[in-house]
């Protein structure tokens, strides 16, 4: 599936990829030809010059000298074009792949999709896709390496069959060692390095989670010592990797010189052609060695592809019939069925760990495991599925996740066609309009590291405004006033109450702060325990 998506994406850039490959081959051949022709020209000129002016007059020097200059230009332009078109193909192909991958992820069953969207998972998904991009760029250099090798064989052929055969043998050895041997040998060290890095991060995160004792008991040295184990492991695996690569690279350099020596030893032509063959072969072997780099990088691309392939195996979403509007909600708490008519305002109470957030998330369709088995219009939420439930519920979860973008971008998530007026109304109800007006760019202010950094309470209110804009029959709010001081919380309760009255929207609220309790017309307690005092 991933391979198909990638192939489709690359296919869209066929023209750029072909041009890149063609220019790459041209540049590689030009590079070999430049050195080969220079060697031939020099040697030929020396012989002609030594033979006297007569011979010098018959030596065609204009063509080769022009060719040498032309080859220098062809090589430069070829390399420039190869890089430009190669990157163009990769960038635009991946620009097609990313939305397709996102769509794949978003179409799968929510619980599985959500497992794969935590911060760290998303970051590694991003870097896997980046690895694919590099893979496409590298693909272009493959024909260049092959063309260089072929040009070198042609050059060696001009010095005789034996020389050519010797050179082919050298290319063969470089191929075997580089393309086949290198990845296998290096893979182990790369794996070890990745494991050491992961273990380091895990341990560091454990220490960083509870840092107070380090300062108070002066444990910095001991922590450093404990982490040093991983630090050493990382250093060792990196060194082994570098040594391995150096061994392989060094071997290729050595074989190149052996190849040139073999050509010269076996050549049965004149000096000029021998010079052509020697210099041409040296340049060609250097280009051919690119195959090793490609093979090593190819492994990383394959690993990334393998990880991404897991996305394709996610099952799709189930869906039920549409929920007619105006239907109430029913749920079972402690064995008793409770009914909630449309437009009601419920507060869910219960100690921590009794499953209030889980119930809200199940109503919203992001989970299916609330033991209360809520049902809307007679149909159990878990059967209705996310696609139907999100038409009924607007959810402001406890973690108030905002997307990277402007205030307006975040508000526009609520539904298509949100107008600035509607945004301001929602912000006013959420007691955030003054703050947004005070921002340098107002609704278009970028939020995030290089823009305004919102406090926890401000994020909550923006998330609330977004839920208000969605205009669904029910509002699900999980700790909406966390981080607010009492005055603002009071004002929020007033305005939210007015909004609910005006729109007739139902409310299910989880809030341990008493300031919002008056919004509810009933309270159901989960977990059978009373809320702790205070």
């Amino acid at each position: 599936m991933i391979d198909r998506l990638l192939a489709e994406a690359v296919d869209g850039q066929k023209r750029a990829a072909r041009i890149a490959a063609a220019l790459a081959m041209l540049a590689a051949i030009a590079g070999v030809a430049l050195l080969a022709t220079s060697g031939w020209f020099l040697t030929g000129a020396a012989l002609a010059g030594a033979a006297g002016l007569g011979a010098a007059g018959t030596f065609n020097y204009l063509l080769p000298s022009a060719a040498i200059r032309a080859l220098a230009i062809v090589r430069t332009l070829g390399r420039y074009g190869e890089r430009l078109y190669g990157h163009r193909a990769a960038l635009f192909a991946l620009a097609r792949l990313r939305p397709a991958l996102f769509h794949l992820l978003a179409s799968s069953a929510p619980t599985l999709a959500l497992q794969r969207s935590g911060g760290e998972v998303a970051a590694s998904l991003g870097s896997d896709v980046d690895a694919l991009e590099s893979g496409v760029v590298r693909q272009v250099t493959l024909p260049a390496a092959l063309a260089a090798g072929a040009a070198g064989v042609v050059a060696a052929l001009l010095a005789g069959w034996a020389a050519a055969l010797a050179f082919v043998a050298v290319l063969g050895v470089i191929y075997v060692v580089g393309r086949l041997g290198a990845p296998a040998v290096l893979a182990r060290w790369r794996r070890d390095h990745a494991q050491a890095l992961a273990a380091f991060k895990r341990d560091y995160a454990s220490y960083a989670a509870n840092p107070e004792e380090i300062a108070i008991y002066g444990l910095a040295d001991q922590v450093s010592e404990a982490l040093a184990v991983h630090s050493r492991q990382i250093a060792q695996t990196r060194l082994a990797l570098v040594r391995g690569e150096a061994l392989i690279g060094g071997g290729q350099v050595l074989f190149t010189s052996l190849g040139v020596a073999a050509i010269l030893a076996l050549a049965d032509s004149g000096a000029a052609l021998a010079a052509l063959a020697a210099l041409g072969a040296a340049a060609a072997a250097e280009g051919w060695s690119g195959l090793t780099r490609i093979a090593i990088d190819r492994q990383q691309v394959d690993e990334a592809r393998g990880r991404l392939a897991g996305l394709a195996d996610l099952p799709g979403r189930i869906g039920g019939a549409s929920i007619p509007p105006g239907n109430g909600i029913a749920m079972t708490i402690d064995g008793t069925t409770h009914d909630l008519p449309p437009g009601a305002r419920l507060r869910l109470a219960g100690g921590s760990g009794t499953g209030k957030s889980r119930l809200l998330a199940t109503l919203a369709g992001l989970r299916g495991d609330a033991p209360e088995r809520p049902a809307i219009g007679g149909a159990v939420a878990a059967d209705l599925g996310l696609d139907r439930l999100r038409e009924t519920f607007a959810y402001a979860p406890q973690d108030a996740r905002l997307i990277a973008g402007t205030v307006a971008d975040n508000l526009r998530l609520a539904r298509p066609g949100v107008t600035p007026d509607a945004m301001w109304t929602a912000l006013r109800t959420a007691c955030l309009d003054d703050m947004v007006r005070a921002l340098p760019a107002g609704l278009d202010q970028w939020l995030g590291d290089d823009g305004a950094r919102l406090s926890g309470g401000q994020r909550k209110r923006l998330s609330l405004a977004r839920a208000l804009l969605a205009g669904r029959p029910w509002l699900l709010l999980d700790e909406p006033s966390e981080g607010l001081d009492l005055t603002v919380e009071d004002e929020l309760a007033d305005r939210l109450g007015q909004w609910l009255d005006q729109t007739g929207t139902g409310l299910i609220l989880v809030s341990h702060r008493p300031g919002l309790h008056r919004l509810a017309d009933r309270t159901w307690t989960l977990g059978g325990a009373d809320e702790p005092a205070g």
Binding site: S38, F41, L42, L47, F59, Y61, S65, I68, R69, A72, R75, Y80, L84, H87, L91, F92, A95, R96, P99, F102, H103, A106, P110, G118, R202, S206, Y207, A208, A209, P211, E212, E213, I216, Y217, Q222, A226, L227, A228, R243, G250, L254, L258, V260, A274, A275, L279, G365, L366, D387, R390, P397, I403, R415, D450, R453, G456, G457, G483, A533, G534
Partner: protein, 539 residues
């Protein structure tokens, strides 16, 4: 116990002449041997006549290649060894500064993790590859030119002369490239992170049925990133094209000059007399002139990554307060009074916690109450300088002290306990200087008796917790704090996660200890509040 206050600030070393640079220059020498052997072979063509000489020359060729192979390998290895040294040093010093100050710098664990591990890794390329090659790129052309001059001084002059337009061209292209990159930087940094951000925000996007719109947005953003990146690359590749051009041109110029000189057809008076061997030597060595710079260009990405990582590390270190402030002379014994006036902690701009004023008499057991988020933990951290204090004073026995001064007086038991690899016993005694063993009574009274009976004091623990529950970890922290023998105890919810029986035991123990120590406990537990001599209620 070495005080982390006395660590030297971690530094990344400046590029300098190093072993790796030396090996890169040795690679040039190998190239010289190769070229010399090749030139000698061509000068004495055909080889058939003198077999011994032929073998020597061919051996010289192979030896030149061997020297290059070994030199390149050793250069890579030396570079990596240097990078490893820097990385390990940084791990040791940087982590000691970063870990205790994370809350002061208002950073999440994930952010610090990227800094402490990923950014240190990112330095490797710059130290192992770029820095040595930078010195080599400056020196090797001169070395090559010197050898070429021995055969054809005019060729050497030609090569050196190309350096002038080359430098100009690179400087211009570099400036243009940087200007373009700066122009695109803001848009690119916002757009290129979009894909990962939207994937991480999938729950929100799904719950508002916005996935199709967002998928379109991701596509548009990716295309814009591609366009903008291409604009930067057009210029960036022009710089590398310039390098490739001069590399190719230098070969062409030497070939044409030497060829015409050998033919006797130079348009100007011949500056020197060349034979084939000399000319060929110059030609064979010409590609090496720009090789150092081509290698450097290939490592440029490493430099950019390394510099970016260096900036981030330096920024984090600049944020960390000077840990050196040791405060007044070490006190011992239980203070008669610990107090704070107007203490305000601010994690986020504009959201202050406090001001809090309180005074606690020592010895005695005191409680701090308040709902979640009111600032109990922040108060405790603020007292020992582990939370960003915006305003307020801390008093110890009628003298104002910086928070750092309290640290060695305090035994701390927080919401979670840090575990070091070792035995359970070692972890329990982490806070103490003495080699004594923890009395069984203490273990039982703190509710850890069952665990010790089941798995023993020699239980091996790893930093992730090796199967200990959250409650068990907190009790380890509590025992650690008490056993440290320090006169002041700051406890954050010491009886949370405890059943009533064990909670009562702990409260009784704290009550006993309060006869000789000053204990401040943040708590919800009404039984603990009842046992306290004073209660500060935060709102």
């Amino acid at each position: 116990m070495t005080d982390s206050d006395t660590r030297t600030a971690p530094e990344v070393p400046r590029p300098s002449l190093s072993a790796a640079t030396g090996w890169w220059l040795a690679d040039s020498l190998g190239a010289v041997l190769f070229a010399a052997s090749l030139a000698a072979i061509m000068g004495n063509w055909p080889l058939g006549s003198d077999r011994v000489a032929a073998l020597w020359l061919l051996a010289g060729l192979v030896l030149g290649g061997a020297i290059r192979a070994v030199a390149q390998g050793l250069a890579a290895q030396a570079g990596q060894v240097a990078a490893n040294r820097v990385k390990q040093d940084l791990h040791r010093n940087l982590h000691g500064v970063l870990l205790p100050t994370r809350l002061l710098r208002r950073r999440l664990v994930g952010e610090d993790l990227r800094l402490a591990v990923d950014d240190v890794e990112a330095l490797e390329g710059m130290i192992a590859r770029f820095n040595p090659q930078r010195s080599a790129a400056l020196l090797s052309p001169l070395l090559i030119a010197a050898f070429i001059a021995a055969a054809s001084w005019f060729s050497a002059v030609i090569l050196l002369a190309t350096l002038i337009p080359f430098s100009l061209g690179m400087a211009l292209a570099g400036m243009a490239g940087k200007a373009e990159a700066d122009r695109q930087m803001l848009a690119l940094s916002r757009l290129s992170g979009l894909f990962v951000d939207r994937v991480a925000s999938l729950p929100v996007i799904l719950s508002f049925a916005a996935e199709d719109r967002i998928a379109r947005q991701i596509g548009d953003a990716a295309r814009e990133v591609a366009e903008r990146t291409m604009q930067i690359l057009r210029i960036a590749f022009a710089s590398s094209a310039m390098l490739e051009f001069f590399a190719a041109l230098s070969v062409a110029l030497v070939a044409v000059y030497c060829g015409f000189s050998l033919l006797g057809l130079l348009p100007f008076p011949a500056p020197e007399r060349l034979d084939l061997q000399q000319a060929f030597f110059a030609l064979a060595l010409a590609p090496e002139f720009y090789l150092g710079m081509r290698r450097l260009a290939a490592a440029y990405h490493d430099k950019q990554q390394g510099e970016a990582a260096q900036r981030r590390i330096d920024a984090a270190l600049a944020e960390s307060p000077a840990a050196g402030a040791a405060g007044p002379a070490a006190r011992s014994g239980t203070p008669a009074m610990l107090a704070c006036t107007g203490l305000t902690v601010e994690y986020e701009a504009g959201v202050p916690i406090g001001p809090i004023s309180a005074a606690w008499q020592g010895p005695g057991l005191h409680a701090v109450t308040g709902q979640t988020g009111a600032g109990k933990s922040s108060l405790l951290r603020g007292l020992v300088g582990l939370a960003p204090v915006k305003a307020g004073e801390i008093w110890l026995d009628d003298q104002a002290v910086p928070p750092v001064a309290l640290r060695h007086l305090v035994g701390w038991a927080g919401q979670g306990a840090m575990l070091l690899p070792g035995t359970l016993e070692q972890n329990l005694t982490l806070g103490s200087q003495t080699a004594a063993t923890v009395p069984d009574e203490l273990i039982t009274r703190c509710g850890l008796g069952d665990l010790v009976a089941a798995r023993g004091l020699a239980l091996v623990i790893d930093p992730r917790g090796s199967g200990l529950s959250g409650g068990e970890r907190r009790r380890i922290g509590l025992i650690r704090a008490i056993f440290s023998g320090r006169p002041v105890l700051l406890l954050d919810e010491p009886t949370a996660d405890l059943d009533p029986v064990n909670a009562a035991r702990v409260i009784a123990l704290l009550h006993e200890l309060s006869a000789s120590r000053l204990i401040v406990a943040a708590t919800h537990d009404p039984a603990l509040v009842a046992a306290a001599v004073s209660t500060v209620a935060l709102s």
